[in-house]
């Protein structure tokens, strides 16, 4: 067989209350097998309480070559951060 099984991206929730986080990828014939393989490869030491597997082909990613124009609009808007505003030291709880 020279055809690889489809690729899935693997996300783990390390404990309840935290978000799922990308950890790597896995090949599997179908979604159920992807979960089992992700369990075997990425959670041998109790790394998680929940797994997501997502077909890699389904992920739509931004283009790094366009990162400048994509993220540029936020660059000059420092007034979106609280540290932009000068408040006298005597003023508390602000």
């Amino acid at each position: 067989m020279n055809q690889d099984w489809p690729l899935f991206e693997v996300f783990i929730r390390s404990r309840a209350g935290l978000e799922h986080r990308h950890v790597g990828s896995i090949h599997a014939a179908d979604p159920a097998m992807a979960i089992e393989h992700a369990r075997d490869v990425y959670t041998r030491r109790q790394e998680g309480v929940s797994l997501w597997v997502v077909p890699s082909a389904a992920i739509i990613a931004s283009d790094p070559a366009e990162a400048d124009s994509l993220f540029e609009p936020a660059r000059d808007k420092v007034y979106r951060h609280p540290t932009f505003y000068e408040i006298p030291d005597e003023v508390k709880n602000l």
């Binding site: 067989m1 020279n2 014939a29 179908d30 097998m33 075997d40 490869v41 041998r44 790094p64």
Partner: protein, 329 residues
């Protein structure tokens, strides 16, 4: 486990256009600034090829590395040792999977990579072409071979290529138990009967020099160190890492009451480093070329496993196709 500084094929410099030059300059500036390179970023073709080769060799080494130790699972001396050894061999398989995934982000398929291993075209760490003759070899591999691998791998956690660096962080975290369980086996044997001590010494005698050679050719003969360092794929030279390994391992051998098989080994008071006798590089190159004691056996085992698993892969694919058809109907 297990990377080895393998001597790699020569690269031709990329054909340059002005646009490519500008991209290359920007790439190098990012690398110099310790920025990470991610899969979809522009990268020089030679960087991509170097990484594919290095990461896949590393992955192959993990997979082939399961064989010498797997050889002792059924004969481990206790249930505890057996459970530990199974967990370690499973880890090596997992490490191979992390690394194949990292290599695939560079635009090569898993089937291609596995094909290169099975055809004999790809290299893997030459250390796995030595046999595991006694139980003490399992201890010596954990202590020395994993120890050398950790020394090699820790700097790769800071590699400029993100997916490789992240895989290495995960691997290094898991690797530490491998070395400790190996040392524990050696310690148990060293504190055991005269026959057990002799077995431990014999394993050290056979694994010491191959472990020293895992760091690859000496700097004078290593053709690609400079380029890999510029790209921040590599952080220390082969000889620097080898020296670090020797300096930490010699006192461990002394603690075990075992003798390093090198009559010229001595502590150089001035530098504080251990000096070793000459390395027999002809052996290293012979093993790398396929003339080690187990090269043939290792590849045959991988080919047989791949062939024996063919029906499972086909059945799983057929089952998946049937499920998909049913869902569509």
């Amino acid at each position: 486990m297990y990377t080895q500084a393998l001597d790699s094929q020569p690269q031709s410099p990329p054909p340059d256009s002005a646009a490519e030059d500008a991209l290359a300059a920007r790439f190098q500036a990012r690398v110099d600034a310790e920025d990470k390179i991610e899969p979809k970023d522009w990268m020089p073709e030679a960087y991509r090829q170097t990484l594919i080769r290095q990461i896949s060799q590393h992955a192959h080494s993990e997979i082939v590395g399961m064989l010498p130790e797997g050889n002792w699972i059924t004969r481990a001396p206790s249930l505890r040792r057996k459970a530990v050894l199974i967990a370690k061999v499973q880890d090596e398989g997992g490490h191979g999977m992390y690394l194949y995934s990292a290599a695939e982000t560079l635009g090569v398929s898993r089937a291609q990579l596995v094909g290169q291993l099975l055809s004999g075209a790809a290299k893997y760490s030459s250390i796995f072409n030595y046999p595991t003759l006694t139980w003490a070899d399992v201890g010596a591999i954990g202590w020395l071979v994993d120890g050398a691998a950790i020394m090699n791998q820790i700097p790769i956690c800071r590699c400029s290529y993100g997916p490789y660096a992240r895989a290495m962080v995960r691997i290094c975290k898991e690797e530490s138990f491998h070395q400790r369980q190996g040392f524990e086996i050696m310690l148990t044997l060293a504190r055991g009967s005269a026959a057990q001590r002799a077995m431990a010494q014999d394993a050290l005698n056979r694994w010491w020099w191959p472990s020293i050679m895992m760091f690859g050719p000496s700097d004078a003969d290593s053709r690609h160190t400079a380029q890999s360092m510029r790209w921040k794929i590599k952080r220390f030279s082969n000889d620097e890492l080898r020296q670090k390994f020797i300096d930490i391992t010699v006192p461990q051998a002394q603690f075990l009451g075992l003798t390093i098989p090198d009559p010229q080994l001595r502590l150089d008071e001035a530098s504080g480093h251990y000096a070793i006798g000459p390395i027999d590089w002809s052996e290293f190159h012979a093993v790398l070329k396929g003339h080690g004691p187990c090269n043939h056996e290792r590849l045959e085992a991988r080919r047989a496993a791949h062939a024996a698993g063919a029906w499972v892969r086909e059945a799983a694919a057929a089952h998946a196709a049937k499920l998909a058809a049913r869902a569509a109907a």
